[in-house]
Amino acid sequence: MNTLLELLQDNARLSCEQLAVMLGTTQEEVQKQIDEYEKKGVIRGYHTLINWEKADANRASALIELRVTPKRNSGFDEIADKIMQFEEVESVYLMSGGFDLAVRVNAPTMQDIALFVARRLATLESVLSTATHFILTRYKDGGVVLDPEDERDERRNMICD
């Protein structure tokens, strides 16, 4: 039932009733599937996609590349686990290629992020180096184009003359 997941990923506010109609099944069946996905950890939350630039909030974001020394037994898991604990950290990915961990960080200002990297991340025992890239503008996030102007419907009516 991947379609259900796709529909929810696109719009988590669809009701079970609407989902059932679209999928040609019953409300109960949809509810059961969702419960199961939640229990198994397939569905891990229902977030709101916010364009913070428009919300007038103080907020800076950065992508930080980390090179780290993996531990003999736990590999990258241990350091990733440590980094996850910081509340400034939005996401942590283990990467292939030129560095090891990609960390996305949010804080009120760029200065806060710089301090966070210098004091909290760079000082972690197995971290070899960091490279901080500030995010300047988000055009698209979570599969959604953030400025509605960019999504204007340019189709026209062809039967009105």
Binding site: T3, V21, M22, L23, G24, R156, N157, I159, C160
Partner: protein
Amino acid sequence: MIEYSQMMNPAVLEIPPSGIRRFFDIANEMEDVISLSIGEPDFVTPWHVRQEGIRSLEDGKTWYSPNRGFSELRVEISKCLQRHCSLTYDPDQQVLVTVGGSEAIDLCFRTLLAPGDEVLVPQPSFVCYVPLTRMAGGVPVVIETKAENKFRLTPEEIEEKITPRTKLLVLPFPNNPTGAVMRREDLEAVAKVVKKHNLLVLSDEIYSALTYGDQLHVSFASIEDMAERTIVVNGFSKAFAMTGWRLGYAVGPKEIIAQMTKLHQYGIMSAPTTAQYAAIEAMRNGDSDIQYMRSQYDMRRRLIVDGFNKMGLTCFEPEGAFYVFPCIRSTGLSSEDFCEQLIYNEHVAVVPGPAFGACGEGFVRVSYSYSIRHITEALHRIEHFLEELRA
């Protein structure tokens, strides 16, 4: 001072304006209008298809194509019709690539009709058949299909309108605006009448890729003995979301296609070259794109049909295209008043049924070629509109 109206063809001047421009003028001036009125896919042409168009430009393929279209494309069209509709057409003699399905329809009328020949046009249907018949010197004879027949055409309805001058029957299925689909048995019944009265058929199957449920599209030409009497019109616009590329085709008996090609070569020369290269890719590798788009339309279709039925606007379940055609008689309003009040009060634009023929009165056409979010919001507003009406 030139009296222009005296200088032009009266037949053109007599074509009435469609009368719904007013709505779109209103809609265009409003902020925050939600439209469910557009008749083209909301998907963009699949990337691999666009890429082939771009590649042909990069390679400098900017010349005319052969009059009847590139032979590679005609071969793909022929294979595609075999694969999806079990139709067999010789790509060299029985396929003509046109500028959209619309050109093919126009060519067909102008090739077949002698002055005074009658053309049976089932309505509600797309707006072009009547004016194009007239411009070709023919006489359109309207057949009104009915909601109680699921807007399918019955043999009795055809028989009623047949005269010694009847030459051609238009079969606009899957239907815009009703979403009606003719099943095999319905087509077989029509075929008997066609044979009995020695008619030709223009089967406009532009929505053939968009049918829902277990029933796949059945082409009228695949019914026994009908290929020799049928010109099938189809195209790339709806199936592959390629409306702006302007590419369609006609297939049929080689004698008729040859004459249509003659008109096409003088009036048009050849269909757009870039579009043809893209279309070759679409036909070769686009079946999965169609599947994907169809499954998306299908979910929206279920959502919107359910929405209207719950609001008490009875909505016959459409089996094809991307429109629903709910009956609005229970509101006591005419189609036009309904649409006008809906746009003024709730800023939602839909098309009055009579735009598709007088028998569309009492209905409105609602397109679901929109995102689910857009559809949900529009349904919400329409529901509010009905609550206010009843209050």
